[in-house]
Symmetry: C3
Subunit: 322 residues, 3 copies
Amino acid sequence: MLVNNIQLTADGRLRHLLTLEGLPADLLTHLLDTAESFVPTNRQAVKKLPLLRGKTLINLFFENSTRTRATFELAAQRLSMDVLNLDISTSSTAKGETLKDTLKTLEAMHADIFVVRHSDSGAAHFIAQHLTPDVAIINAGDGRHAHPTQALLDMLTLRRHKGDFNQLKVAIVGDILHSRVARSQIHALNILGAAEVRVIAPKTLLPVAIEDLGVRVFTRMADGLKDVDAVIMLRLQKERMQGALLPSEQEFYRLYGLTSDKLAYAHPQAVVMHPGPINRGVEIESAVADGERSLILPQVSYGLAVRMAVMSHLIGAQVPQP
Amino acid sequence: MLVNNIQLTADGRLRHLLTLEGLPADLLTHLLDTAESFVPTNRQAVKKLPLLRGKTLINLFFENSTRTRATFELAAQRLSMDVLNLDISTSSTAKGETLKDTLKTLEAMHADIFVVRHSDSGAAHFIAQHLTPDVAIINAGDGRHAHPTQALLDMLTLRRHKGDFNQLKVAIVGDILHSRVARSQIHALNILGAAEVRVIAPKTLLPVAIEDLGVRVFTRMADGLKDVDAVIMLRLQKERMQGALLPSEQEFYRLYGLTSDKLAYAHPQAVVMHPGPINRGVEIESAVADGERSLILPQVSYGLAVRMAVMSHLIGAQVPQP
Amino acid sequence: MLVNNIQLTADGRLRHLLTLEGLPADLLTHLLDTAESFVPTNRQAVKKLPLLRGKTLINLFFENSTRTRATFELAAQRLSMDVLNLDISTSSTAKGETLKDTLKTLEAMHADIFVVRHSDSGAAHFIAQHLTPDVAIINAGDGRHAHPTQALLDMLTLRRHKGDFNQLKVAIVGDILHSRVARSQIHALNILGAAEVRVIAPKTLLPVAIEDLGVRVFTRMADGLKDVDAVIMLRLQKERMQGALLPSEQEFYRLYGLTSDKLAYAHPQAVVMHPGPINRGVEIESAVADGERSLILPQVSYGLAVRMAVMSHLIGAQVPQP
């Protein structure tokens, strides 16, 4: 709840998007409804709305991610915002300036939204705490903590393709331990009232007390996938693995990789999702990734709409400066 | 003709620009006419037209080229497009994602045009084959294969400064073997009906059966430059040279570098062109590069107009999505 | 005066901004007045004016500076300009092209303003000399020579917070020897008629004959800060230090670092400024940097307004091309 003191205004509007944890269901539904209204925008001949003209978004990437940066940049452009891309790792902090000084300096340039990507859990929260409320922070992934816009786009994907959450059984498969995406998905699914949220992983890739987040835990695909309506595969974060949590990629694929054979355990109409970029033959078989039940590419499209929705909510909650 | 199944629509409009080979003369002329209409745009007080507002162009550079990227970015801005620059070498492919997956992901962001630069011949063609027809591909240079917008701007330069092609004798000089620019120029000149197309190079820098492209081959400047109306020097692609195809830069300059002395073999009003960046004292003498018959800088200006023309043709050929 | 033949038009308008040295007081005042009018723009809901729509600004950074590049990019966006960022060190010059050729090529793309950052003193001046008058050059820092927009934003800060210059005593403290910022500040303060301009530094960090620029020289803070209305701290350019000009950072801080104790020598209402990024505990104590008399963050905001003012003056002085 402490976080919500920061990320919500007194009357419950979204001031920052740091995590989905603790957000009210009607706010999430409202965000998804707004995103829904932007889906056609990205398919029109003129993919641009004057909604946020004269507003500035700064992409503050302390950790490189071309794909995520691109979706935020495009989403902002399609709302007519001005965008500034800053790769902070190679910038002022290299000159010995503290992170806080860098932030205060950027804030003084009167940006409206900072999109923050950082390898440390809690970085976006730290930044929101140290800036004035005139700047809204969007967490674009912080360490193992949260990646709320990714989870929101997954929810939009589920809602558009599977309908109401209260009928849905969803399994999240893979490296739960290191995944900020999984944490945000679990919060989103529970807030939105999913019938059942499952995680499937080897014990070494399960966080301690993960059940407390409101999930059923499985270590075998045959059990965990049974009757689910959606399978969300996680990216195997090779770069995050420390030590020998896994015997090998081949072993992982054999046990947890989503093949047509394993997908057969799920409900016959079950859909397949993945936040990308995918590792073919490690997390997922090509026949499944490219199959007709795969929603991997629609997820990318909905990602634009979701980010546009978040941006317009954040700006809408800002109080005009005197 | 196979390529044209991809790069032309059923009614003959330009869907992708991968190569000039096989394009009809009237389409090239139409592109040059459109480019002509954009030349004044770049000289006006307000250098911007609302023509492609709400369209997105992605610069997909797998091979670094600041200059080429800049001309495409400026051309797109002057048509009011949104532009996203992606340096793919340092991006997702480094994370193990396949090229095709990267492309499908970017396509899902609903871009309208991809500008592709790649060190492999055929890369732009490969990309066009694997995307939906909703995205137009402009080849901004692929290996030794083609660089069609460079050749088109050369054609615009020739037409504006020398008039009708059917009276023109043009010599292309230098490293023909490794030059995608030369290949595109040869196709363009022949399609537009140039009176004579010559290549001048040492035997080691001539592709096998180059005559089949419709050129006269010379190995000595004194012979090849005789009476030509335009001399197009190529950049010596030092980074592309494999092994000892050339004795030395000095030797190359002595035999093939365009000096005032050698230019005297050409027609007295012959113009001098070069795609840039130039290597002074290697391909060309400074007195010639900076002389009054040099069109090297006008070529750059026309490059903007040509790229604007290509972009507007490509968008014009796109079918609105349902 | 030679420089002014380049940077002023025949009727005294600003054609380039290379240095403040030798500019008339009324021109500086006029620039500050214009900047004043842009201060509210950066605080409005819609932070954008259509003033320079259809104009192109190119950030030509031969030396990396994310912060400076960002302020120019934002300032240009807020005047509705198109912006192109070019990192030249990794670009054409690496391919062997001469600087002059790179510049002429960019000029041929019909940009309106080049913002130039370079590690060599005189680089911006060199560039202005070699381009046509159609392109305006803004010096964003060249070697030890000048950083005129930084000094202008400092003047705007002083004028807004301390009023008329003719009552002002200002001390500039630190590495005067290597500081382009200090040189530009000294010129600006003298042109605008400051009551007294002082520099405070160890002898090893004072240029020869610095008194000739119209400053009083002090080597001790206790003497130099006495009764001043403003203290401008300089960044300790560690990367510029050659050899043993300083015993250590600790020693520098003990003698010249701005602490609350030392600030007590100044006038009780004296303000504190710094161009940033600051080195806490080297040039300045955190209590001072974050104190209520610190104008370090307002300086950043005024930097946007000043750059917008310079850009609009430069474009206003351009003669429409035929």
